[in-house]
């Protein structure tokens, strides 16, 4: 066992211990109450490579990475850094040993500036021991220049879009000059342009000998950026291959253990009357003059670059931020929706973009998370909640959505991102909505669960629900939508029918 102090000294001396692998995990086991997250897994990261981790939700990828980043400790097994056994006690430990991680859920402090966030705990100090803000700004500017990022270092993080926050996280991790960089779904909030930018950064880091672990669900990214990949399934290690050696179907088969024939089961569904009609909807300073209709059984895709105002439109329609002008009509009747309660009363449902911030009640359990919306007008008698009836429907919904959990009393924060999303979808499905707004419903979700969710959405459409699906994933938008509405900087730039919609046309409208 080598102490972190010794490791630091070795690193500082510049000597490189003789080992083929930068980072290794051997025989690692990790259990949580009721769930075996990792069962005798192994992992090897070579110097100067991009190594992708693939697997369904709950397969154990994030858990293994959290062990490598010092957030969890393994119940059994060993971690080796450059051939030396090491026991990481905390994320700080990992950082000091040259392992930096960018998490799926962003870990920035909203009320501090970009520069303060990046240099937290390492702030440059003046002679008198005070923080040298000028130097901090300069260092940030240098870092951004090197990475070709265009963000003002003095902006407070809470004023940044989700995509820009992700770029800040990436810059922060890179600034640690670590040997190992672990990225957990780094592109989930990024547009194609930004993804390409990130790949440039990764290629540059790789050429300097840094080992990068890349967790993703997106197959095309794997083929584009990864040199090799490892597959996990149900907490077990399946295998490692070079990305040039396999096909897409091979990978899917390894991940789910079965064939998935169709990604997006789009069926022809009878489309009925107009259910939701939005006219000249405006939220001053955010979006203007947005008009569109959605019919029963129709899936309206909402495409556009990050920052185009799609989520804002959704939040306004749902009453979270009421419109400053314009009308919303449901089934022909004009209704003023100024609170989410009103929206729910009119059979609307809204799955928000950021499940950590506005979706999950992290410290509550699955049952409590799932039942919260339907309690507005059902399962309550004179103020008292019908616990057993509720538990029953939540249990059925949980099984139907195939939420991976031993029981409903599990804290939702212990679930993987994809399973959390399923619980939230269950929350809204329980209210039996007629209008369903989904904001990036499959962000950070694996292939298997993604297909399941798409199947549910199609089922709902068949039942006559009008669906609005905001998505930044082109295949998803094109595959699922009957019509696509494209937005750009707060305006609607165009509509495309399913037949005529192509990636090129959507991008044209999105960038106009």
């Amino acid at each position: 066992m080598v102490s972190p102090g010794t490791m630091a000294a070795v690193r500082a001396s510049g000597a490189v211990p003789n080992s083929e692998f930068l980072l290794e995990a051997e025989g690692v086991r990790k259990e949580f109450p009721g769930v075996v997250a990792l069962d005798d897994v192994q992992f090897r990261l070579k110097r100067g490579t991009v190594h992708a981790l693939m697997g369904e939700n709950g397969a154990g990828k994030s858990t293994l990475m959290k062990i490598l980043a010092g957030i969890y400790t393994p119940d059994q097994g060993e971690v080796l850094l450059k051939g030396q056994k090491i026991r990481l006690q905390s994320p700080l430990d990992a950082l000091e040993n040259g392992i930096a991680m960018i998490h799926q859920e962003l870990n920035l402090m909203p009320f501090m500036t970009v520069a303060e966030n990046i240099w937290i705990r390492r702030e440059p100090k003046t002679r008198f021991g005070f923080v040298d803000h000028g130097e901090m700004r300069r260092k940030t500017a240098d870092l951004f220049k090197r990475l070709k990022i265009h963000i003002d270092p003095d902006i407070q993080v809470r004023d940044l879009s989700v995509a820009n926050r992700q770029m800040v996280e990436i810059a922060k991790a890179v600034s640690y000059e670590s040997d190992v960089l672990i990225m957990d779904e780094p592109t989930s909030a990024l547009t194609e342009r930004e993804v390409e930018h990130l790949f440039e950064i990764i290629r540059d880091l790789r050429s300097h000998g840094i080992g990068i672990v890349y967790i993703t669900h997106k197959m095309n990214e794997l083929f584009e950026i990864a040199d090799e990949f490892s597959v996990f399934r149900d907490g077990k290690y399946i295998g490692t291959h070079a990305s040039s050696d396999v096909t897409r179907d091979d990978i899917i088969r390894m991940m789910v253990g079965r064939e998935i024939t169709q990604m997006f089961p789009k069926e022809e569904v009878p489309i009925g009357d107009v259910v939701l009609s939005v006219k000249n909807l405006t939220l001053k300073g955010v979006f203007h003059d947005v008009s569109f209709d959605v019919r029963a059984g129709e899936i309206l895709g909402l495409a556009g670059l990050v920052g185009s105002g799609r989520s804002n439109v959704a939040e306004t329609i749902f009453g979270v931020t009421p419109a400053t002008s314009g009308t919303i009509a449901i089934n022909g009747k004009e209704i003023k929706i100024d609170t989410p309660n009103k929206a729910i009363a009119n059979r609307m449902a809204f799955l928000t973009e950021d499940r950590k911030e506005t979706g999950c009640f992290l410290i509550l359990d699955i049952l409590e998370n799932m039942q919260i919306a339907v309690l507005q007008d059902k399962f309550v008698n004179k103020g008292f909640v019908s616990e057993s009836a509720l538990t029953k429907v939540c249990d059925e919904m949980s099984k139907k959505l195939r939420v991976k959990t031993p029981n409903l009393s599990e804290r939702i924060e212990n679930l993987s991102g994809g399973n959390q999303q399923k619980v939230l979808i269950g929350r809204w499905l329980l209210t039996k909505p007629r209008i369903l707004i989904l904001d990036e419903p499959t962000r950070g979700i694996d292939v298997g669960a993604k297909a399941e969710i798409h199947r549910f959405v199609t089922e709902l459409a068949r039942d006559g629900v009008a669906v609005i699906m905001i998505s930044s994933e082109m295949p998803e938008v094109l595959g699922m939508s009957d019509r696509v509405m494209v937005m750009h900087e707060g305006h609607v730039t165009g509509f495309l029918d399913r037949a005529e919609a192509t990636q090129v046309k959507v991008m044209e409208l999105a960038a106009r």
Binding site: V35, F318, I372, Q376, V385, L408, S409
Partner: protein, 341 residues
């Protein structure tokens, strides 16, 4: 918070056999038993007699903390929503003063409202509750509809209410209260009232929609809003209830002392918050149970009574009490953290 064993057995799907979850209060109950036993042992060592096997002492112990307990029940709910209420003690004083003025007997020499002497007890009681409710409503409205942090808003009420208590009779105590009124503070009535309040709100938090919404707001206020909860209206309700309970505590205090003084209730809010936190309520919000708060209240009572029993100097009492409060909370936080990873 939710030990839904039926959900466990009914669901059952998954890879591992479901384990019956121990109620979280078990830990704090063991702390209570531990502290009591410590005093028992110390009692035999230093005073040559039993601490616990004395029904009179036990009764007085619980009586003394009943008032704090009533306040703590309200404050627990406020803390669960992620807020805090610093005004409870001052509301106790204000309510005691104002209500007592309507509970005076005509046989007393200095009656504040001579025309309103000898009123049936229900009048001062109603007035007391309403004053507390009003204070809570103001707190809640300020916190819900402006961006003022709960700490500041209730601090303001704390100062104002104390000011009103002092101004009301220019510092004179209000005495000569009717027997009908002081009845609610006599015998073991304070304990009964405390327990009834505890049961009512235990049921409310566990089994009603009001309870679910309270926890949801504390866990994630934005998600609560998106899920259709009228967060503002709910917060007003929670603070109003806390205020009303502080009012009730004020009534019991005045009834028990058979007088009302402007300085009544000083520091009560801190004891109440301590009771809630010892009992497992998290200041971060979303976590807390009435059963825990009751145990926390009893722990405070045992400590106060125990120190008096051992003839510990009053000064040492406060210091040791503070240390024990911190220790109890640290142990609980540590145990919660361990459960996560």
């Amino acid at each position: 918070m939710n030990t839904n064993v039926t959900a466990n057995d009914a669901a059952g799907h998954g890879t591992a056999p479901s384990r019956r979850k121990l109620p979280p209060e078990l830990n704090i109950f063991l702390v209570l038993v531990g502290i009591a036993l410590v005093f028992e042992v110390l009692g035999w060592l230093f005073a040559g007699q039993s601490f616990l096997l004395n029904p009179q002492r036990l009764t007085i112990m619980i009586l003394q903390v009943s008032v704090i307990g009533i306040i703590a029940i309200g404050v627990t709910q406020v803390i669960i929503t992620g807020g805090i209420d610093l005004s409870s003690g001052s509301v106790v004083g204000m309510t005691a003063m104002i209500a007592a003025a309507f509970a005076q007997s005509s046989s007393w020499s200095r009656v504040m409202y001579p025309a309103l002497a000898d009123l049936p007890a229900i009048v001062p009681i109603a007035i007391g509750l309403l004053i507390g409710l009003l204070a809570g409503l103001i707190n809640g409205a300020l916190i819900a509809y402006t961006r003022i942090p709960p700490f500041i808003a209730t601090l303001g009420m704390m100062v104002s209410a104390r000011g009103i208590s002092k101004w009301y009779t220019k510092g004179q105590p209000v005495s000569g209260l009717t027997d009908q009124f002081t009845f609610i503070g006599s015998g073991i009535w304070p304990v009964v009232i405390f327990l009834v309040v505890a049961v009512i709100f235990h049921i409310a938090l566990r089994y009603t929609r009001y309870g679910k919404f309270t926890y949801a707001i504390g866990a994630n206020v934005q998600a609560a809003r998106v899920s259709g909860i009228n967060v503002e209206a709910h917060l007003v309700k929670v603070y109003a209830i806390a205020g009303a309970l502080a009012g009730l505590a004020g009534l019991v205090t005045a009834a028990r002392a058979q007088t009302a003084q402007a300085g009544m209730g000083v520091m009560y809010e801190l004891d109440a918050i301590a009771a809630a936190v010892i009992g497992g309520t998290s200041l971060a919000g979303g976590v807390g149970r009435i059963t825990g708060t009751v145990i926390g209240t009893v722990i405070l009572g045992v400590m106060t009574s125990g120190f008096t029993f051992l003839r510990v100097d009053a000064y040492y009492q406060e210091i040791i009490k503070g240390a024990i409060i911190v220790a109890a909370v640290v142990t609980d936080v540590y145990r919660q953290k361990k459960r996560k990873t």
